[in-house]
C-alpha cells in the first residue's frame, strides 16, 4: 500500500503551529454581544427571588435572562437539564442568570448587581449517601423527564439510570470458588481541562431559523437536541464547528449552545457569544463523574475466575443527560478483558449536588478499570499466583463470551498478546530493588479494553468531490478535536483513488447544512465508521469515473484502472484520461459533453448491534473491542511518597495503524493524560460542596516535566475484517489503565494496596504511614 500504513505528517499541522487555524473564539460577528453568567454559590438551594433591576441599569447591558425565561429541558439521553437554573440550584456553579451586554466589562459589572434570595436545602455530597432511602432528591420530577428507551431512571430516587447485567449463576460460581476476595474503590471527579475552554456563539434569526458557531464535538447532536427541545425543524438550524482546541468528551452532546441561542432571541436577534474563563471551565462546564466500585471475585486455587459480583456507582452530579450512558458502558464491559462465566453486575448513575458529569475520553472504563485491574492484582496475590499468569489464564480470547453474552469474534484483537508484549518490554519477573534505604524500584502492569459506547443506530457518512483540476475534497462530520482522524481519512482516500495526499483537502470545518451526517465525534468510533463510509464514498467516485471513462476509452469498466491521477486501459497505459478531464464532465473535441460533476457518497452503520435486554443486559453493544495493556517501572521514595515513572510501556491491538506516527502520538498523549488523572487531578470540595481548587494553580495537571523519561509503544496489528483496512479505534483507549499499573507497582514495592485515586505523593505517603 502506498498511503495507508505510512507515517505522514498530519494535514492540519501547518495551520495549527502557525496559529492560522480557526477556533470558535476567533469568530467575531457584526453586532455581536457578550454574555456572562451568575453562578450559584450553593450546592442545593431554592431560588426564592431574583432581582436584577440594578443590573439592567448598567450602561451597555442589553438584557438579563433567568431560568423562567427559558422553560425548556434539554439532554442527550435523559432530558433533565435546564438552560438556566429553574426553581432551585443543584450545584455550586450552576448558572442562575445571564447578562447580555455590548461588552464583557459591562456584563461583569451587571452580574455583581444581581441579587438572588436563596433558601439553602440539604445537599447530597457523597454518591453513597445519595443512595440512602432518606437522601434529599436532586430531581424531584425525574419521572416526568423524557428519555431514550435504552435507559432506566428510577423516579423517587436519585438513580438516573440502573443498568444490570446477568450471566450464568453467580451463587453456583462462588460455591465452586476456593477464594473469595472483595474490595472497594474510589475515584474523584475531574475536569477535561481542554486547552480551549467552552466557547459558543448563537444567533436566533428573525425568520425563526437558528445559527450556531461553537467549539463542540458533535454538531449534528446539537442540531438534533436543540430542534427537539425547542420544536424547531432541523433544516432551520445550522451548526458551524471550526477546529476544536481539545474536547476529551467535555464538548460532546450539547452544552451551552441552547443558552446563547435563546439569549440572542431575548437580546433582539443579535449574535451572543459565551466564552468561559479557566475558572468557569472548572465550575460551570461539565466534568468527569466520580466513581465508587465494589467487586467480589470468586477464584479457584489454580487461578480460574469462577464468579464476580460487581457494583459500580457513578457520581453523575447535578445532571445526567449524557452521564447515564457512562454507567451503562461501564456496566456492559464491567469485567474488564477477562472471561467471567458467572456474573452479576449492577451499574448505577446517581445524581448528587456536585458539578454535572458528562462524557470523558474512555468514559466509564478509566473508572472501572481502576477497580478491576487493582482487584486482579489483589486476587492474584491472595492465591499466590504471578499477576501476569493470572491475567493470561482468564484472558477474554476470541470465541469466549463477554458480560453481555456476545461471543468474541474470530478476528477480534488479542488481549493476551498485549499483556505479553508489555510484560516483555518492561522486563517482568524481577523483584523490586532497593536502590537506597528509602528508594525502591518496582514494576506493575494493567490491562484494558473498550468498545464504542454508542446507540446501535449511530451512523457516519462521507462525501468526496472531484474538482476540475483533479484534486479532491473530502467532507466528513467527524470534528477535528486534536485526534488526527481526518489525516488518516485522507490517507484512505489517497489509497482508494491512488492520488497523493497533498491533492486531497479535508474540509476543515463542519457545517450541518453542508457536511454529511455523523452521529458524534466520540467513543473511538470515527476512524472505524467514517473510515468505512469514506471507503464507500471513494468507491462511488471510482465507479462514476469509470462510467465516463469506459465510454470515452471504449472499453468495459472492468478493463480500466485508476492510478496516479489517471484512468487507463489495463495493459495499455497509453490509452488513458486524466482525472481532471472528466471531473465536471468529459468534453469531446467538438464540444459534446458526457458525464458531469463527480460527487461520491458513502455511509456506515454498525452491523447487527442491538439494544441490551433491560433485565439481563444481554445483547450486542460493541462495534469492535480494542484491547491493550500498560506497564510501568516506578521509583518510590518511601519517606515522602514521591514516585517517578522511570519507564512506561503501552501495547494496543489497533488492527491496522493507518498512520503509525499518529497512533503513537495518540498513545503518548493519552498516557500522559492517564498519569495526570491518576496522580494529581481531583475536584476538592469544602463541606458545603464548593470546589476549592478551580484553577490551574491548585488543580494540577501533568506538564512536560512529568512525562516519563522512557515510553515504549508497541502497536499490534491483528486486523478486524470489517474495519477500514482492518483498523480499530484507539483514541480513548490510550488513556486507560496507567493508574492501576502504577498502584500495582506500589503494591509490589511495599505490599500496600491503594484503592482510591489520585495517587498523589501525599496520599501514597499516608497509605504507607497507615501500614506502618
Amino acid at each position: 500500500m502506498k498511503y495507508v500504513g505510512k507515517s505522514i505528517q498530519r494535514i492540519d499541522a501547518f495551520e495549527k503551529v502557525t496559529g492560522s487555524a480557526e477556533y470558535a473564539g476567533d469568530i467575531e460577528l457584526p453586532g455581536m454581544l457578550y454574555t456572562k453568567l451568575l453562578l450559584s454559590p450553593y450546592a442545593h438551594a431554592k431560588i426564592k427571588s431574583i432581582d436584577f433591576s440594578d443590573a439592567l441599569k448598567v450602561p451597555g447591558v442589553i438584557t438579563i435572562a433567568i431560568g423562567e425565561d427559558f422553560p425548556f429541558r434539554i439532554g442527550l439521553y435523559v432530558n433533565d437539564r435546564n438552560i438556566l437554573a429553574r426553581k432551585k440550584v443543584r450545584w455550586v456553579g450552576e448558572p442562575v442568570a445571564a447578562v447580555v451586554a455590548e461588552n464583557l466589562e459591562a456584563a461583569e459589572e451587571a452580574i455583581e448587581l444581581i441579587k438572588v434570595d436563596y433558601e439553602p436545602l440539604p445537599p447530597v455530597l457523597d454518591v453513597r449517601d445519595a443512595l440512602k432511602p432518606d437522601a434529599p432528591l436532586v430531581h424531584e420530577e425525574l419521572g416526568e423527564y423524557a428519555h431514550s428507551p435504552a435507559f432506566n431512571p428510577i423516579p423517587g430516587t436519585n438513580i438516573a439510570n440502573r443498568f444490570v447485567v446477568k450471566k450464568g449463576n453467580v451463587e453456583e460460581g462462588f460455591k465452586k470458588s476456593d477464594v473469595i476476595v472483595e474490595n472497594e474503590f474510589l475515584m474523584p471527579q475531574v475536569s477535561h481541562v481542554p486547552m480551549e475552554p467552552h466557547t459558543c456563539i448563537g444567533q436566533y434569526m428573525k425568520d425563526g431559523s437558528i445559527k450556531i458557531w461553537t467549539s463542540a464535538q458533535s454538531p449534528f447532536a446539537i442540531r438534533y437536541i436543540l430542534g427537539y427541545s425547542l420544536g424547531v425543524p432541523l433544516h432551520k438550524i445550522s451548526v458551524y464547528v471550526p477546529y476544536v482546541g481539545g474536547g476529551f468528551g467535555g464538548k460532546a452532546g450539547i452544552n451551552f449552545e441552547p443558552l446563547v441561542v435563546l439569549l440572542s432571541k431575548k437580546a433582539g436577534y443579535r449574535p451572543v457569544k459565551l466564552e468561559l474563563t479557566r475558572e468557569e471551565q472548572f465550575m460551570v462546564a461539565p466534568v468527569r463523574q466520580g466513581f465508587y466500585g465494589k467487586i467480589k471475585t470468586g477464584v479457584t486455587r489454580d487461578g480460574k475466575i469462577m464468579a464476580e459480583k460487581i457494583l459500580y456507582v457513578f457520581d453523575a452530579g447535578a445532571y445526567a443527560d449524557y452521564g447515564v450512558n457512562i454507567g451503562r458502558a461501564a456496566g456492559y464491559s464491567c469485567t474488564g478483558p477477562y472471561y467471567v462465566p458467572n456474573l452479576e453486575g449492577e451499574s448505577l448513575t446517581v445524581y448528587t449536588n456536585h458539578p454535572w458529569g458528562t462524557a470523558f475520553r474512555g468514559f466509564g472504563h478509566f473508572e472501572f478499570l481502576w477497580a478491576i485491574e487493582r482487584q486482579m492484582e489483589i486476587v492474584a496475590a491472595e492465591i499466590g499466583m504471578d499477576p501476569i499468569e493470572f491475567r493470561l489464564k482468564n484472558a477474554l480470547l476470541p470465541g469466549l463470551t463477554t458480560p453481555t453474552g456476545e461471543k468474541l469474534r474470530e478476528d477480534a484483537g488479542r488481549i493476551d498478546q498485549c499483556i505479553k508484549a508489555v510484560a516483555e518490554k518492561i522486563g517482568w519477573g524481577t523483584p523490586p530493588v532497593k536502590i537506597t534505604p528509602n528508594k525502591i524500584r518496582a514494576k506493575g502492569i494493567a490491562a484494558l479494553w473498550k468498545a464504542p459506547a454508542m446507540p446501535p443506530n449511530a451512523a457516519s457518512s462521507a462525501i468526496i468531490k472531484l474538482n476540475e483540476d483533479g484534486t479532491f475534497l473530502l467532507s466528513v462530520g467527524v470534528t477535528e478535536i486534536g485526534q488526527g482522524t481526518v489525516t488518516a481519512l485522507a490517507q484512505i482516500v489517497a489509497e482508494e483513488l491512488s492520488v497523493p495526499v497533498e491533492k486531497i483537502k479535508v474540509v476543515p470545518f463542519r457545517h450541518t447544512d453542508l457536511t454529511p451526517y455523523s452521529w458524534q465525534t466520540v467513543a473511538s468510533r470515527n476512524l472505524f465508521m467514517e473510515g468505512r463510509a469514506v471507503i464507500r464514498a471513494a468507491r462511488d467516485v471510482k465507479e462514476q469515473i469509470l462510467e465516463v471513462a469506459s465510454q470515452v476509452l471504449r472499453v468495459p469498466k472492468d478493463d480500466l484502472e485508476i492510478e496516479d491521477e489517471k484512468v487507463y486501459v489495463k495493459g495499455r497505459p497509453e490509452w488513458s484520461l486524466q482525472l481532471k478531464d472528466i471531473a465536471a464532465g468529459y468534453v469531446y473535441p467538438n464540444g459534446n459533453t458526457i458525464g458531469g460533476p463527480i460527487i461520491g457518497r458513502g455511509y456506515y452503520v454498525g452491523s447487527r448491534l442491538t439494544y441490551l435486554d433491560p433485565e439481563t443486559g444481554q445483547g450486542y453493544p460493541a462495534l469492535k473491542w480494542t484491547f491493550g495493556a500498560q506497564a510501568v517501572e516506578i521509583e518510590l521514595d518511601t519517606e515522602t511518597g514521591e514516585i517517578k515513572i522511570l519507564k512506561l510501556v503501552s501495547a494496543f491491538d489497533v488492527g491496522k495503524a493507518i498512520n503509525p506516527m499518529l497512533v503513537e502520538g495518540q498513545i503518548v498523549g493519552g498516557c500522559v493524560q492517564s498519569i495526570s488523572l491518576g496522580m494529581w487531578e481531583e475536584y476538592k470540595y469544602d463541606k458545603n460542596g464548593r470546589m476549592i481548587n478551580p484553577n490551574l494553580t491548585d488543580y494540577k495537571i501533568a506538564r512536560a516535566g512529568d512525562i516519563p523519561e522512557e515510553h515504549i509503544v508497541v502497536i499490534i496489528e491483528n486486523p478486524q475484517k470489517d474495519g477500514p483496512y482492518g483498523a480499530r479505534g484507539v483514541g480513548e483507549l490510550s488513556m486507560l489503565s496507567v493508574p492501576p499499573a502504577i498502584a500495582n507497582a506500589i503494591f509490589h514495592a511495599t505490599g500496600v494496596n491503594i484503592n482510591n485515586l489520585p495517587l498523589s505523593f501525599e496520599n501514597i505517603w499516608k497509605a504507607l504511614k497507615e501500614k506502618r
Binding site: 451568575l38 453562578l39 454559590p41 455550586v92 456553579g93 464583557l104 466589562e105 461583569e108 459589572e109 452580574i111 455583581e112 448587581l113 444581581i114 441579587k115 438572588v116 474563563t277 479557566r278 475558572e279 468557569e280 465550575m283 519517606e639 515522602t640 514521591e642 496522580m679 494529581w680 476538592k684 464548593r690 476549592i692 481548587n693 478551580p694 484553577n695 494553580t697 491548585d698 494540577k700 495537571i701 501533568a702 506538564r703 512536560a704 516535566g705 512529568d706 498523589s760 505523593f761 501525599e762 505517603w765 499516608k766
Partner: protein
Amino acid sequence: MSQNKNINLGYINLFNTHIIPVKFNYHAPQTLEEALNLLNKLKDKARVIAGGTDLIVDMKLRRKEPEHVVSLNKIRELDYITVDSLGVKIGAIVKLRKIEKEKIIRERFPALYEALKSMASIQVRNMGTMVGNICNASPAADTAPPLLIYNATLTAKSLNNERKIPIEEFFKAPGKTALKEDELVTEIFIPYPPQDSHSTFLKITRVGMDLSKVSIAVLTKFNGSIIEDIRIALGAVAPTPLRIRRAEEFLKNKPLTEENLKIVQEIVAKEIKPITDVRSTEWYRREVAKVLVKDALMKCLEEEGGR
C-alpha cells in the same frame, strides 16, 4: 466600576479571573529617580510591577486593585548583575532565567541555582524577577531559603533615603515585608559563602512545575568531621520563609552523626508552623520537612566527601 463587595456571589468571583475591570494609571518611569518620586507621591495607592507574574494574577482575581501601577521595566539602571570580590549584586529587574544562566550563580551559589531551576516554567522565569519573588513575600517563595542561607542583603531606596535590610529581617507575614510604602528594593547583594562550604536546595511539590509544599536550603562547612558553619532555611512551612537558628546552634561544632541528625529533625519539626490548605496538610508538611532536612544535610555531607 464597582468594587467587588457583593458577598452573595463573592465566593465565585473571588475565584474567577476577570478582564481587569478597574481603571488604573500606568507609569513607566525611565529612571530610578523618577520611580522614587512617583512612589513618594503615590505611597500606598501604587503597586510596583516588574515581571508581573504575581501582580497581574492578583489583579485579574481582584485581590489587588491598585489605583496606580509603577513599572520598573524601563529603568535600565536596575538591569545588572555585577560580580566583585565580595559577592554578586543583582538589580531589581533582572529576570529569574538570566540569573539562573549566570555561571557564577551555578558555581558559587548552588542552592540558589537549584531553586531558580525548579521554579515555575521557563516561560514564567523569563518574565519574573528575583526581587519580585522576594517582595511578593509568599511563604513559598523558592528563592527565599537560598537567599536566607547566603545571608543576602537587600538595598531599599526611597526618595530621601537608602538602607540595607538583611534578608532575615525582610519577611514579616504572608505578603508583608519590612519595606515602607515609598521604598523600592533596588538590589540584592549575595556575599560569597565561606570557602569549602557546601550548599543545596530541595523541595517537595505536587507535579514537576509547581509551588513548593515544603522547600529547604542548607549550607554546611565542615572542619574534619565537625560542623563549623551551618545554616538551615525553610519555605512554605510558616507565615514567612525562615532560618531555623535553634537547629543551627545545636549542630554547630558537632559531628553529623545519625543521632544528631535525628535531634535536628525534631528541632526543625518544632520550629516550623505549617498549615493545612488546598495544597497539603500540616502533618505531611511537618513530616516531609524532617525528611528534607536529613536529605539536604546528607547531600552536603556527601559533597564534603562522605563520613
